[in-house]
Symmetry: none
Amino acid sequence: MQIDELIREIINFADLCAAGSDPFPVGLPGVTLVRQRRPTYVYPVVYQPIFCLVLQGEKQTMLGDRLVRFARLQSFVVGLDMPAKAQVVKASPREPYVALAVELDLNLINELATAVSQGALEDERALAVQSGETEAPLVDAMRRMFDLRDRHEAQPVLFPLILKEIHYWLLVSEQGSLLRQLAKKDSHAARISKAIAVIKGCYSAALRVDDLADVAGMSVSGFHASFREITGTSPLQFQKQLRLIEARRLIKWERLRVAEAAYHVGYESPTQFSREYSRVFGVSPRKDRTEVPHDLAEPAA
Amino acid sequence: MQIDELIREIINFADLCAAGSDPFPVGLPGVTLVRQRRPTYVYPVVYQPIFCLVLQGEKQTMLGDRLVRFARLQSFVVGLDMPAKAQVVKASPREPYVALAVELDLNLINELATAVSQGALEDERALAVQSGETEAPLVDAMRRMFDLRDRHEAQPVLFPLILKEIHYWLLVSEQGSLLRQLAKKDSHAARISKAIAVIKGCYSAALRVDDLADVAGMSVSGFHASFREITGTSPLQFQKQLRLIEARRLIKWERLRVAEAAYHVGYESPTQFSREYSRVFGVSPRKDRTEVPHDLAEPAA
DNA sequence: TATTTGCCTGCCAATTTCTCCAGAAAATCT
DNA sequence: AGATTTTCTGGAGAAATTGGCAGGCAAATA
């Protein structure tokens, strides 16, 4: 079966590039391969719009109050920039967690959507992260895309085509509900997306929820409800996550002092910053700064 | 008249067991006798499905915004787990408030309902607590049930029969509208009942009304409306009552510290907890903890 | 006497609940 | 079928709840 072929192929490739655990590029723009030899702790991430096909092992992510789990041949589609918590739950050196991811291009989605949507689209429940079994044509397209990685002469021509094809299949797949919504002007999803862009754009600035609702063109309460429905969190929590994740980066990798990091991401009181930091990461910022940065991979609890 | 007989009999019995004011068992499972020698303050209770026949004195209960009053030979039927406020308003040492109560078994109700409902049931207005004059066969059945209390040899055979009979009469009585509705799958009452089960099951967890509505299979606004119609209160108030009543128990009887009690019943901020507690009980939690627990019975205001 | 601890109160912004209403859908009647 | 009534849904907006924080008080502790 082609699928097993793809899996074997990719896993071999991953073994060769034993570069480590962080996602690493495969030679195609926007395409990355993720591999983990061990279950990990829960770690916070910021997703971008992405399509990720799990080939081996299992992973779960938490969006606010929601928990989704992905196993072999399942996949997830993220349609929005989203902070989340992820955890690889099944992985071993013999059988590591392996997944192939492609960044999505929302412009491309919009473009395709106009061509696709004849029938009036139903209002489906659209979540920021959709998951489920991967439809066969998608797996196949991913395989063909992956095969392009060292056909340098073919890439410039074929890669855009396959990318477009993947976007198409996603758009019409079951998991594509959010993408379809996003393409629809004035849908809730599209409005929330606009608001999220604002939050991301200035996450270190003081944020007034009223203004966001305004940007989205919704009532404050309606905005809250939709926001939660789609992202699984409230606007403020969303922003807080972004802030803290960035702060952590500043602290662990840029070695900023705690207070500096706090101010940098928009906190006015280092006290408050410290409290929230500890609550989210389980470690105080001071500690994170002191300790040597280490690999994500850890024996699972 | 047989009724007077029953009353005299029970009152005598109650005098014998001068155990005090709390409801006390009469030797039949699920059957209790309530006696109060004095009017009481308003006190919060959590009803279970129950049928309660008032024999002497008067009592009133408040469900949210509704006030119902029960006097001699009136009775009330509670079909749902319901927090409420009760108050004995007419009682004296010479003529105490006396009532006989039987817990109801909703499974039994369902069972009987299928046997009973030939005619398509009308949609009647169904309230969580129904009250009114007690129909004669019911009083009679209650009398016969009460007489079983010391016929230990007859109990195993006759008690289930009488219980069933009582359920039957309730189901067809005027006060049985809620019971009839509950038995009907997909009725509003049945849906709300499901939601209430959820609330009760985890009243100390963060609860989202959207989800409750989901459980009930109704729109949020429809859910609100139905919930209020049946219970006389809103979902949040309902949950809050449960929380605070439990918290009060923890504070007065288990002697938990205020903050602990707050966390225990699901508040994340003792501040807020304290505020609400005072509002509902008229006394700050601190005070309730400090003061010696005392009897419910107090001279009425 | 000074400090600490536990709690209450007021204030603020965020979040959620809840009412109300218009339009859609379903049921009922003609 | 078509008309009418009833019921339901979804959304806006007002109102309430919530949690955080600062200030204060009073009892317990040092």
